[in-house]
């Protein structure tokens, strides 16, 4: 289960805050929450601060959203990425693809 809270911010940025787990069950919801904000020149921040789990389906949908945003001239940014998710991006060879901004909670160990 996951929740998606959408907050429009000034200067054409929209923040979609994800709380919970991103797996196969919620990929469609995540796409529906993020995709409508893809417009030329707009930045969509996906705030993963509340993310508790993500699997390959979840990463697949993030990749899909990233590619679509690029195609539509928008920018997809991941913020507040928790360490486990960041590790998963790394071991999946995806870390370099995303524009990942340093997460506040991120503390090196």
């Amino acid at each position: 289960m996951a929740e998606f809270a959408q907050t429009p911010v000034s200067d054409g940025t929209v923040v979609v805050r994800v709380t919970g787990e991103i797996d196969l069950a919620v990929t469609a919801d995540l796409t529906a929450a993020v995709r409508p904000h893809f417009q030329q020149g707009r930045t969509v921040e996906v705030d993963l601060g509340g993310l508790t789990f993500i699997d390959s389906s979840g990463m697949g949908v993030l990749v899909q959203l990233l590619k679509e945003s690029t195609r539509q001239g928008a920018r997809l940014v991941l913020t507040q990425v928790p360490r486990p998710a960041r590790r998963l991006f790394e071991v999946s060879g995806l870390a370099g693809f995303f524009d990942i901004r340093p997460a506040v909670e991120d503390s090196p160990r």
Binding site: E21, L24, T27, T52, F53, D55, S56, S57, M59, G60, V63, Q64, K67, E68, R71, R83, P84, R87, L88, E90, V91, S92, G93, L94, G96, F97
Partner: protein
């Protein structure tokens, strides 16, 4: 899903009938009680009214008799001869026709055993003054301490003959009084009769012959329904007064209460029956609904089970049935369906004979689950296989594939470890597209193979960098899918550490036992996600087959 033979089928009707029955019984009982109470009240009220009527009648009798008593007293004072003139004068005021007290009056004196008429006034008496009947009548009067009464028919009219005797003087006064024509008396204005019909009979008998007066048509008598009767002394006999209320004597509420109770009781019964029926029907519908829903769920579960079995068969069909023999190498593989969800995943493994001294191998995983994922898996698997068979290196094969897979089109990303091995040397060239790192089990040296990880297939055209490792004799290469290490409540490193520990524990097992043992350590009876595993172990004694066939002994690294 309603089965008519189910016990619940007749419930609404049965319940409705039961409620109706109870309602009818309650209605009947309460209405009957109200009716009885009203009836008893009516009886009591009628009795009271009748007694009042009787009292009025008694006073009327006194009015009739009083002049007789007065006349006798006057005659007694007049002496044995009596005073005929006074008699005629005093009685004359009472004489007349229909409305008068009497129609005739006569004065008699007893002389021995016969009565002599001394005087007579008014109309001709109905009772023949010369006949024996009047003698008997007067005899009775003398014998009685009260007046005597006798009916006398004169033409079509009836009269009452009264006689009152004074035993001491022997005088007897006889009068005749005309009863109303056809016995009908105008309704008495006296309030005692205002609310009742009445019939007055001479004597105890209430036959038409005995009828004296009534407010009814005599043909309609006797009075029926609720009646009351009382007797009033009348000379030597009685008048029987029978009464019947004209309407309802008590309060209207008392009268209508039984009907009100019946009506309201029936309404309540019908309403309750309808409600009960609806409630029961709703209950049964709810039961039916839940039964239907349960059945549907069972069916859906059944369908899911079938679907899952189909997928598993499809999945199994796509996986190699028989792994090719690779000289100097032992191969083991496993595919374990996950416990989570009903749809299977797109995990796979391949061993590919690419001719000469080489073989290819792949362990891959398509994101998502279900038949789409399985189809995508088949595409990925056969595409990679084609490139490998065609002679492409793992990195080349992945790079080519990366141009053919697009997550925005396919909806999936594909991770894979792709390798090309040379059996003679144990050299493995491995490229990785976003896949969990393979393990190398080499005696005490168990480790993850460090290698560059390229992006998964589907992200877009990418290039991959291969790494080369030489498998020592007896060493095992182990690739797997993320289902083996990934758990929701921990990060990936924890799972990978656990895998390393499990691999170290079981490294000495035969390769066929290695995979089940590791898997069991990792997930017990059931992992949530599907798992594919492939193990490749290089024989301890390498070079037994074909080491002389031009192979370079130096390439067979033992380290």
């Amino acid at each position: 899903m309603r089965n008519p033979t189910e016990p619940g089928a007749g419930w609404p009707i049965r319940t409705g009938a039961l409620v109706v029955l109870i309602g009818l019984v309650l209605t009947a009982v309460s209405s009957w009680a109200a009716y009885r109470a009203d009836r008893s009240t009516e009886e009591r009220l009628l009795e009271t009214q009748t007694r009042q009527a009787a009292a009025v009648l008694s006073s009327a009798i006194l009015v009739i008799e009083q002049p007789l008593t007065t006349a006798l007293r006057v005659q007694a004072e007049a002496g044995p001869g009596g005073n005929r003139a006074v008699f005629r004068r005093t009685m004359a005021v009472y004489l007349g026709d229909e409305t008068a007290l009497y129609v005739s009056a006569s004065l008699w004196r007893q002389d021995g055993d016969r009565f002599t008429r001394l005087a007579a006034v008014g109309k001709a008496p109905g009772m023949d003054p010369a006949g024996g009947e009047v003698q008997d009548f007067l005899d009775r009067a003398v014998a009685s301490r009260t007046s005597v009464v006798e009916r006398v028919e004169v033409g079509d009219r009836t009269r009452f003959a009264y006689a009152l005797a004074d035993p001491e003087t022997g005088f007897v006064v006889k009068v005749e009084r005309l009863l109303p024509a056809n016995r009908r008396a105008p309704v008495d204005r006296d309030s005692a009769y205002a609310q009742i019909h009445y019939a007055i009979y001479l004597g105890e008998e209430t036959s038409v012959e005995a009828l004296t007066t009534t407010d009814q048509d005599p043909a309609d008598l006797p009075l029926d329904g609720l009646t009351s009767s009382v007797t009033v002394p009348f000379g030597d006999t009685v008048l029987t007064v029978v009464t019947e209320p004209k309407g309802h004597l008590g309060s209207p509420l008392s009268r209508w209460l039984p009907l009100i109770l019946v009506a309201s009781g029936l309404l309540l019964t019908v309403a309750t029956a309808l409600i009960a029926r609806k409630v029961v029907s709703t209950g049964i519908r709810a039961q039916d609904d839940s039964a239907t829903i349960s059945t549907l769920y069972e069916r859906i579960n059944g369908l899911y089970e079938e679907q899952r079995e189909t997928f598993v068969r499809l999945q199994r069909a796509l996986l190699p049935h028989v792994l090719p023999d690779i000289p100097d190498h032992e191969i083991a593989s496993a595919y374990v369906a996950g416990s989570e969800g009903v749809e299977i995943g797109g995990d796979w493994y391949s061993i590919i004979d690419v001719g000469e001294d080489h073989f290819g191998f792949v362990v891959g995983d398509v994101s998502g689950r279900g038949v789409d994922a399985v189809a995508e898996m088949a595409r990925a698997r056969f595409t990679l296989r084609a490139y490998l068979v065609d002679g492409d290196s793992p990195a080349e094969a992945l790079a080519k594939c990366s141009r053919q897979f697009d997550v925005t089109v396919d909806g999936h990303i594909v991770t894979a470890v792709v390798g090309r091995g040379t059996w003679r040397t144990g050299e493995l060239v491995i490229a990785n597209a976003g896949h969990p790192l393979p393990l190398l089990l080499d005696g005490d040296h168990c480790r993850f193979l460090t290698m560059p990880i390229g992006p998964p297939l589907g992200v877009g055209p990418s290039s991959y960098e291969a790494t080369t490792v030489t498998l020592p004799a007896g060493a095992t290469f182990l690739a797997y899918t993320d289902g083996l290490v990934e758990r929701r409540d921990e990060d990936i490193d924890t799972g990978m550490d656990r895998l390393l520990a499990a691999a170290r524990r079981h490294r000495d097992l035969a390769v066929d036992d290695l995979l089940p043992s590791i898997r069991e350590d990792m997930s017990g009876d059931g992992a949530p996600d599907d798992i594919a595993m492939l193990a490749l172990r290089r024989a301890v004694e390498v070079g037994v087959v074909g080491t002389d066939a031009g192979g370079d002994p130096a390439a067979v690294t033992v380290s």
